[in-house]
């Protein structure tokens, strides 16, 4: 692969209590590309993506082995602070989850946490992130309204804008369209193509057409194991593993 | 951890320790003495001094620096002032025990300045990490929960230690005599049991009926809003107001009697029963009802055969919790149902009764005047055991029931 490798997962295994959810996963995600993770439900897609920003740390009884290197630094290193990792690796969740605050405050939140407090800089960041998330034109006149008043699709784009505001290097998306209608989904997919210019994106999806449409690389996960990983066209047109082929052609899943 | 972080944490630890000691001594459990106190303050001051050179170099923000200096000043002032304060602080014609007072004041000052200085001052100044902020906050929250549990634990242990020896067979089965100084509490025990039983008979059907109406027949609308508001007001109504209501309405009708008391207690527990029953009925999934309707059942048949049976444990929980409250209430029955000495085990609904909470009230009033100590502690223990026992039953029932859904 000609690109610089941004995220490199090495022998990653994960247990919830005594249940093994991920088994010896090894894959490399190139910089400024979209990597899609697909697979039947319960195969560990979300678990895998939540490892990248150490959100799994918050779950009681969760244990990991292996390494995840971002620009060569292991995020599971004992000296690395999970909170710092999350500032470098942004995440958008399955269900839109804006804070019950104003639109402006939703976006300013991450910056305030990071110590940016001047009104001028915040205004600029809010405007830029909303533009980047293609939401600026829809909300520019009502930044002080509650974010809960937006539609589901707008809320999800707000969540994306909120994540972009802290200038992450990697953007994780956990089935970002599963709670949205087709029009909102299309908008987010367009957005993803734009974001690719500046960010390394990892997207979990159960929608294979979506993976085929937007991603550059695709990983197929089954029962916690990585079955296949490669350029999207190759995975969809000439899958190497029989399991992948059966899933993609819709014989199970 | 970097050295300056460690030092900051150390200061926070010292501050918290002193706050804890201050509250502890205020609560009367221990007093560490002036010398040790002075040592603590001096340690705090020295730690701050160690930080000062760094703070000069790093003082980009004036505000932080001011906080820092203020905190150091307060600490040294306390170190100097506290032990040298006059032994008694005059307050009008009496005086306050000075050592305790100054200790409380100094610890209070620390409790207030500590976290503020820590987050407002040290934070930006030393690039205080998020973790240090978090550690200081958690420290204070842990102190809060300990301070909550301490007096409550104290109450329960005091009553158990003093009351348990008084629980004898004679105490449980004999009549009251000599203003409660001798004899037992048999009539009060029976009275309380009868009162609870009758209260259940009144509150159960009314509470469930109301809950069914609110959850099954009318979920919204103006009437429902009014009913809900009424239930909330009823829940908040002070028990003494219930007592006066009973005095004004039931006593003229039924006299001072078991029946009057039970009616009042029924009204008192009604909102608790309604609330819990509603929760239980609400937790029955809508699909189950729809399944029943789809088979051609009427609404009443659905409620009776499909909704109520699984909701029943939840409803019973509500009744149990309500009765736990009723068993311990004094104010509602003091003018409507009880006599202290004269009443015996009631022969009919219209006889007055004795009840444990009221008995305890009378014994407390005689405290110091008659030798009632042992019986009073024993009564308190018995009452506490009954009420907490009923409540524990209710809570266990609820936890078990919640797991099913």
């Amino acid at each position: 692969m000609e690109n610089h490798i941004k995220v490199s997962i090495k022998n990653l295994s994960l247990w919830y209590g005594s249940n093994q959810a991920l088994d010896q996963i090894t894959m490399d995600m190139p910089e400024k590309k979209i990597t899609a993770i697909i697979g039947p439900s319960g195969c560990g897609k979300s678990t895998l993506i939540r490892c990248l920003n150490r959100m799994n740390d918050l779950i009681e009884g969760c244990r990991t082995t292996g390494e995840i290197l971002i620009d060569g630094q292991n995020v599971y290193d004992r000296r690395v602070d999970a909170v710092e990792v999350r500032r470098r690796v942004g995440m958008v969740f399955q269900k839109p989850n804006p804070f019950p605050k104003s639109i402006y405050e939703n976006i300013a939140y991450g910056c305030r946490i990071g110590g940016i407090n001047t009104k001028q800089r915040l205004d600029k960041i809010v405007k830029e992130s909303l533009k980047e998330a293609a939401l600026w034109d829809e909300v520019k006149d009502r930044l002080s309204d509650s974010a809960m008043k937006l539609s589901g699709g707008q809320q999800q784009r707000l969540c994306i804008a909120r994540t972009l505001a802290i200038e992450p290097e990697v953007l994780l998306m956990d089935e970002p369209c599963s709670a949205l209608d087709p029009i909102a989904t299309a908008k987010i997919e367009d957005l993803l193509r734009d974001l690719k210019r500046d960010y390394t994106v990892v997207i979990v999806t159960h929608n294979m057409q979506q993976a085929a449409r937007v991603s550059d690389y695709t990983a197929y996960l089954y029962l916690g194991k990585l079955v296949e990983f490669g350029p999207t066209r190759q995975v969809f047109e000439k899958p190497e593993a029989e399991l992948t082929e059966r899933y993609i052609t819709g014989r199970f899943g | 951890m970097k050295p300056k972080d460690a030092l900051s944490c150390w200061i926070i630890f010292l501050g918290s320790a002193m706050a804890l000691i201050g509250f502890g001594s205020a609560a009367g459990s221990f007093y560490i003495g002036d010398a040790l106190l002075r040592l603590l303050f001096v340690l705090l001051g020295i730690s701050l001094l160690l930080l000062l050179p760094t703070s000069f170099r790093l003082a980009k923000q004036k505000r932080s620096f001011c906080w820092m200096v203020a905190f150091a000043a307060i600490s040294f002032a306390l170190a100097y002032l506290v032990p040298s304060a006059p032994p008694k602080v005059g307050l009008r014609d009496y005086s306050i025990d000075a050592s305790l007072m100054k200790f409380m004041i100094s610890s209070l000052a620390l409790v207030i300045t500590g976290p503020v200085a820590a987050s407002a001052g040290f934070g930006p100044l030393f690039n205080f990490t998020k973790h240090a902020h978090q550690a200081s906050a958690y420290c204070f929250l842990t102190i809060a929960i300990l301070l909550i549990l301490y007096p409550l634990g104290l109450i329960i242990s005091e009553i158990s230690v003093n009351g348990l020896p008084g629980i004898t067979w004679e105490f449980l089965t004999q009549d009251v005599s000599k203003h409660g100084a001798e004899g037992g509490i048999f009539p009060a025990l029976v009275g309380t049991i009868l009162l609870i039983g009758l209260t259940a008979l009144i509150a159960l059907p009314l509470g469930i009926g109301c809950a069914i109406y609110l959850q099954e027949y009318a979920k919204r609308g103006r009437l429902v809003r009014v009913i809900r508001t009424a239930v909330n007001i009823l829940q908040g109504t002070p028990s003494i107001v219930h007592g006066l209501f009973g005095l004004a309405v039931f006593v003229p009708l039924f006299g001072i009697s078991l029946l009057s008391g039970a009616l009042i207690m029924g009204f008192l527990t009604l909102p608790i029963v309604i609330r819990t029953s509603e929760e239980a009925i609400r937790s029955i999934p809508q699909e189950i009802r729809e399944g029943s309707y789809a088979l051609g059942a009427t609404q009443w048949q659905t409620i009776r055969k499909v909704v109520l049976p699984p909701a029943l444990p939840g409803v019973i929980t509500g009744v149990v919790l309500g009765l736990g409250r009723a068993a311990g209430e004094t104010a509602p029955i003091m003018f409507t149902a009880v006599y202290f000495m004269g009443a015996r085990v009631p022969g009919s609904l219209l006889d007055p009764i004795q009840a444990l909470p009221y008995h305890l009230l009378e014994l407390t009033r005689y405290w110091g005047a008659y030798p009632v100590e042992q019986n009073a502690w024993a009564t308190a223990f018995l009452l506490l055991a009954i009420v907490l026992g009923i409540n524990a039953g209710g809570i266990i029932l609820r936890e078990r029931y919640r797991q099913e859904f």
Partner: protein, 293 residues
């Protein structure tokens, strides 16, 4: 005669409606009957009820001292219970390990059930002598003692309700905050707590309502002296509260005296009802908040 199915259903429905409406009736009855008994006092005394002179034997019925006492005692109680209670609730819902929480939450709910007479008893036997010694007071009976006991009493209620409010904050928005690189404490401070603030306030208002209406625990320890201390902030003095006044004097009252006591009960009822409604409105706002709008 066999009723038609529909007739029967309607009958049953109306029967339940009747039962449900009973709560409204009880509230109305409480108010009407209290007011009826209190009416002579309101008519005869009018606004002179709100003076500071109380002497039942001379026919002087100014209830200001009791109102002052209730406010003072409740104020002290809230100074103790609100900060501690909120701190405890945050500990319980956000930072205690799940195993500890499973144990602590029922314990605190259980403690909320300790009868008020037991607090009163402990007040007389433990707190009064202790405070008398510590603060070198003439007797340990004072507004302060009442306030401290009420504060301890209100704690479990406030912790329990605030904990419910904090737990009701959806996990998703906490995760969102953490994913943006906030520490757990920043998340609590900036997201969880502000989101739960109306519920927490509702809990505190409920605590205030209960404290004002509490009888037994206060009556036994405030001293039941109908006098406003001077200077008025001197809470080391004995005093009385509305509830202590009613419970202490109703037994031997007659005529106008009784009526005045009922009048104070009407005032108490109105205050507490207002607080209930306020707490209710706040709680309704909580539910609305997370559903949008």
């Amino acid at each position: 005669m066999r009723l038609g199915r529909n007739t029967k259903e309607i009958l049953i429905k109306n029967m339940f409606l009747g039962v449900a409406a009973l709560s409204i009736l009880i509230i109305l009855f409480i108010f009407i009957f209290l007011f009826k008994e209190a009416f002579p006092a309101f008519r005869e005394m009018g606004l002179s009820l709100f003076t500071s002179d109380w002497s039942a034997s001379q026919g002087k019925f100014g209830i200001n001292a009791a109102v002052f006492g209730s406010v003072a005692v409740t104020g002290i109680a809230m100074l103790i219970a609100v900060p501690l209670g909120i701190g405890g609730a945050i500990f319980l819902s956000e930072i205690s390990p799940p195993r500890l929480r499973v144990f602590l939450k029922p314990v605190i709910e259980l403690l909320a059930g300790i009868p008020s007479i037991v607090y009163g008893f402990i007040g007389v036997t433990v707190f009064v002598p202790y405070l008398a010694k510590t603060f070198d007071m003439l007797s340990g009976y004072s507004l302060l003692t009442g306030g401290i006991i009420l504060g301890i009493m209100a704690l479990p209620t406030i912790v329990s309700i605030s904990d419910d409010a904090l737990k009701a904050v959806p996990r998703e928005i906490k995760e969102a905050s953490l994913a943006l690189g906030a520490s757990k404490w920043e998340t609590i401070k900036l997201v969880t707590f502000p989101s739960a603030i109306s519920g927490v306030t509702a809990g505190c208002i409920m605590g205030i309502g209960r404290a004002i209406g509490e009888t037994m625990a206060v009556m036994l320890v405030v001293g039941s002296v109908m006098r406003i201390p001077s200077p008025s902030f001197d809470v080391f003095e004995t005093g009385s509260t509305i509830t202590a006044l009613i419970a202490g004097q109703m037994g031997e009252a007659w005529g106008m005296h009784t009526s005045v006591l009922f009048a104070t009960a009407v005032i108490l009822f109105l205050i507490v009802a207002l607080l209930s409604v306020a707490s209710d409105l706040l709680q309704a706002r909580v539910e609305k908040k997370f559903r949008g709008g």
